[in-house]
């Protein structure tokens, strides 16, 4: 919170203080070095422990046996293959759905575009494990609401079903439902920012609509799509939440559930660490491939005063397009929330609630009888707020350092800030557990270790977002401030940060939501006093208390929306910030 006040204060004093240079000591370098040091500790410490553990045996001798086991034992090869299939399929599905939707919302006159964007946000806010539980309620082969409907409509036998969520297809489907927002946001943003002049130029030169699309729009949107596909792939590969709920009943392991099973007593942390290495290497290879594909072609689209892009007129297809978007959004939003609300007020989680069966019993149970509810909610909100605030500041400074190349080694910092994306949360949990259960940092059992975990996990996306935001702001504004005598730190706080308001606030919300969604590291690092909602939901799923999960899940979403809305309404910071930015 102090960071925000500081920044808003900075905003207010821009005009007042610019002409009175007063900096005697430039704290820029020490502060930046401090942030850099924090980052190095944050990332390098757990990754080093993972690296060490992956090549040692129980007796702490060097061995490569862990890797031999990993690549010869079918118990590991099968999950590896399963994970590959899930990740590739999810990435393809996400792109196939999100790219047209992004285009419709950004570049056409389809009705309800803002509404569709809001709904995509709703599906992004839904934690994947909650979505998986909701889809259990909907599409479990026998008790699922959709299968009941199917049997009711067709009069099919008791055993027949239309959907089976406990299957590979089921898991791919659920993962895609809660991964496609990543692709959608990237594609839609890139299309939003695309200058209309380029397309106009193509049209003026006689290009037909399709030619313009093929030669101008699609190539310009390509980087976003490639990045989106990559993110979807990585998300699906490292996701623990949905497989944790669905893979066991489906009768197979993914890499992440396999790693989780290595924690069963006696824990085999060496193998867990080794199992992370292929995921890590694959990620790095993919990130390199992305650079190679996009090559050195320039894609900068924000350069001067461009007009807003033209909207394609859909004419009679407008409503069909809207219908398409709504049908897609049935899957991550409408149906799951319907199932969760139904279960929350029903005596039996998969029976349709009627006025006569309507019950508040589940809500009473969760809020008055379940003894860990309050603690978990409190911990989650504290962690969400703290992680979002610290994470935004950290990402802001790192993005500044890397875009403006302020200190030597800034490239390495950029790499470090992106590195956690390659580490599945559950593996990072192991690394953090290994790092922070021994001196000098004994943090296990406190909220600090969870804060560090959530910070590390959310840093890559926060950094990417703010770096992209920095790239759109020309350094000349900062230079002006510095010529007038401000230090780098002062110009960062007073000039750049206020200009980045929208980016900063989006990043803050993004991290907060990320904390609410996070299960994989928390499941390794929590203790009874540091429980968070996601872990509580996982425990409730273990014992099959689906109605209680529905109540908690809904409560969790209400909290998330309330916080995100509140943050967006902070005066001078969120509300109308973009308008202010454009006018100023």
């Amino acid at each position: 919170m102090t960071a925000k006040e500081e920044r808003s204060a900075g905003t207010m004093t821009i005009t007042g203080n610019l002409d009175t240079p007063k900096a005697k000591i430039d704290w820029t370098k020490p502060v930046l070095w401090l942030f850099a040091a924090c980052l190095v500790v944050l990332i390098v410490l757990p990754l080093s422990w993972l690296a060490i553990y992956s090549v040692t045996d129980k007796a702490h001798h060097f061995t490569l046996q862990n890797f031999v086991t990993l690549f010869t034992d079918p118990d590991f090869l099968d999950p590896l293959l399963t994970t590959a299939i899930i990740a590739i399929s999810s990435a393809v599905i996400c792109c196939a759905v999100a790219a047209p939707m992004g285009w419709l919302v950004s570049r056409t006159d389809m009705p309800g575009r803002q509404f569709i964007r809001a709904l995509v946000t709703a599906s992004f806010v839904t934690p994947p494990f909650l979505g998986a539980v909701a889809w259990e309620l909907l599409a479990a082969p026998n008790s699922g609401l959709l299968n009941q409907l199917f049997r009711f409509v067709t009069g099919a036998e008791a055993d027949e079903h239309l959907f089976d969520i406990y299957s590979m297809t089921g898991i791919i489907f659920v993962i895609s439902c809660y991964t496609f927002p990543f692709v959608f946001v990237l594609v839609a943003n890139s299309l939003d920012n695309m200058p209309g002049e380029l397309e106009d130029a193509s049209a003026i030169l006689g290009g037909k609509a399709w030619t313009t699309a093929r030669r101008v729009t699609i190539p310009l949107a390509l980087p976003a799509l490639v990045a989106g596909a990559l993110i979807a792939f990585l998300q699906a590969m490292t996701l623990f939440g949905s497989p944790a709920i669905l893979a066991l009943p489906a009768g197979f392991h993914t890499m992440t559930t396999k790693i989780w099973s290595l924690f069963q007593y006696p824990p085999k942390l060496e193998l867990a660490a080794a199992a992370a290495v292929p995921l890590l290497l694959l990620t790095i290879a993919l990130l390199q491939a992305q650079k190679f594909i996009l090559g050195r072609r320039g894609y900068s689209v924000v350069g001067g005063k461009y007009g807003a892009p033209r909207r394609v007129e859909m004419k009679q297809w407008r409503w069909a397009a809207l219908a398409f978007c709504l049908v897609v959004l049935l899957n991550p939003v409408f149906l799951p929330y319907f199932a969760l609300f139904n279960a929350a007020f029903s005596p039996n989680a998969t029976t349709l609630v009627t006025p006569s069966t309507f019950t508040l019993h589940n809500i009473v149970f969760v809020f008055t009888e379940l003894s860990s509810t309050q603690l978990a909610i409190k911990n989650t909100v504290i962690l969400g707020t703290a992680t979002a605030t610290i994470g935004t500041m950290l990402a802001l400074v790192i993005a500044y350092v890397t875009t403006r190349r302020v200190i030597p080694g800034s490239r390495i910092l950029g790499f470090l800030a992106t590195a956690p994306v390659a580490v599945p949360g559950i593996v990072l949990g192991v690394g953090l557990f290994l790092s922070y259960t021994r001196p000098p940092f004994v943090l296990y059992g406190t909220l600090w270790i969870l804060l560090i975990a959530f910070l590390t996990i959310n840093l890559p996306s926060a950094y990417q977002q703010l770096q992209a935001a920095f790239a759109t702001i020309h350094p000349e504004l900062e230079d002006a401030s510095r010529i007038l005598g401000a230090t780098r730190l002062q110009s960062l706080l007073r000039i750049t940060a206020p200009l980045l308001r929208t980016g900063v606030i989006a990043t803050w919300c993004f991290i907060f939501i990320g904390v609410m969604r996070e299960l994989s590291a928390a499941i390794v690092l929590f203790t009874s006093q540091t429980k968070v909602i996601s872990v509580l939901i996982y425990d409730l799923n273990e014992s099959g208390d689906l109605a209680a999960i529905s109540v908690l899940g809904i409560a969790m979403l209400i909290i998330t929306f309330a916080v995100v809305l509140a943050v967006n309404r902070i005066p001078m910071f969120g509300a109308n910030a973009s308008a202010r930015l454009r006018n100023g």
Partner: protein, 363 residues
């Protein structure tokens, strides 16, 4: 996972559990039934001093494997009797609890006051490690049979329950229902069963041990080909059964089935012709409990005749307290052919069960 664990066992690298086992020249079989070594502390009563001291601590943290709504019911009963002391229940499958307690103790974290596991074998290493505090109440000393209390006063068996078969009455007619484990292997039930997992649930760990002992691994080899829906906790199969997600429960808590049936859900227990696996759930206090007096008060209260009667009446489990009456209309333990439990045997076989089970069921 299977091969890896097998690898661990092949190599001369014993697990922590095995090292501990070797370190103590204790005849494991006698841990539960040897009054000869008894050096339990003198029994204590619930005194006003204890209540006051507990109220000053204000909280008791219970690590429990009991079904959550059932456990919270118990917690609320304690809170009603001793206002001002909050019961915080940490529920997870016993095997997960065991791993977490190990992890927390290794990191020097003392969060748990009282532990009530569904895998009695866990108390063997805990006691050996010196993690448990001796505490005996009048009720435990006078009314609990010797085989259901630790001779050194480290724990007492709070509850007994069964892991039975059951079916959904909406999906299966009584005359078609399986009568025992052998029936579950027929083609009739392929793809129609749900069961818990021994690597998560203590109840299922003990159940698996008893079934392997009585029926051999062949039973599980055949069962694993029946496309059984696998869930984690032994509290989940009854709920999946009630939802109608599967027609038959191959293992899981009988008490959940009884409670669901009494609440009008379409479930019916089956007490297998081969015998029904019996599970005992001991409770003990940790030696470095953060709330030692509240822990003692809770442990004392938990084993009073009143609480044991409450446990019997409202959670449909069985008490070994000599003065507790079974609830009229409920089945008595003596009416059922039981399989014998053997915590020491479970402790020796835990690793093998996890490994072979994971290999058979592929999860």
């Amino acid at each position: 996972m299977g091969n890896q664990q097998a690898g661990v066992m092949r190599k001369p690298k014993p697990s922590r559990r095995e090292i501990l086992k070797g370190a103590t020249a204790l005849a494991l079989g006698t841990v539960f039934a040897s009054p000869a070594r008894a050096e339990a502390p003198p029994p204590e009563a619930i005194t006003p001093q204890l209540i006051d001291a507990a109220k000053r601590e204000a909280t008791v943290v219970l690590y429990s494997a009991m079904d959550l709504p059932v456990g919270e019911k118990l917690g609320k009963a304690f809170e009603t009797q001793y206002p001002g002391i909050k019961v915080q229940i940490e529920r997870a499958g016993s095997e997960r609890l065991f791993q977490r307690i190990d992890q927390e103790f290794a990191a020097n974290i003392r969060a748990a006051d009282v532990v009530s596991s569904a895998d009695a074998s866990h108390f063997i290493p805990w006691k050996r490690n010196g993690w448990l505090a001796p505490f005996v109440t009048d009720d435990i000393a006078r009314h609990f049979p010797a085989q259901y209390r630790d001779p050194d006063g480290m724990f007492a068996t709070t509850r007994l329950w069964l892991s039975s078969i059951a079916y959904n009455t909406g999906l299966v007619k009584p005359e078609d229902a399986p009568a025992g484990y052998a029936d579950l292997l027929g083609p009739k039930w392929t793809g129609k069963m749900v069961k818990g997992h021994p690597a998560y649930s203590g109840t299922i760990m003990s159940t698996t041990f008893q079934l392997v002992r009585e029926l051999g691994w062949e039973y599980f080899e055949k069962l694993s080909k029946q496309r059984v829906m696998q869930v984690q906790s032994s509290t989940d199969p009854p709920k999946k059964l009630a939802l109608g997600e599967r027609a038959v429960m191959a293992d899981g808590n009988e008490y959940n089935i009884v409670l669901l049936k009494e609440a009008g859900q379409p479930v019916e227990p089956v007490y297998p012709s081969e015998g029904t696996p019996t599970i005992s759930g001991p409770t003990g206090i940790f030696v470095n409990a953060p709330h030692p007096n509240a822990a003692k008060l809770f442990q004392a209260w938990l084993h009073t005749r009143e609480t044991q009667q409450f446990l019997t009446d409202f959670t449909a489990q069985y008490s070994v307290h000599a003065q507790v009456q079974s609830k009229p209309g409920r089945r008595k333990l003596s009416d059922t052919k039981l399989m014998k439990e053997d915590p020491a045997g479970v402790e020796k076989m835990t690793e093998e069960i996890k490994t072979r089970y994971a290999r058979l069921f592929r999860v």
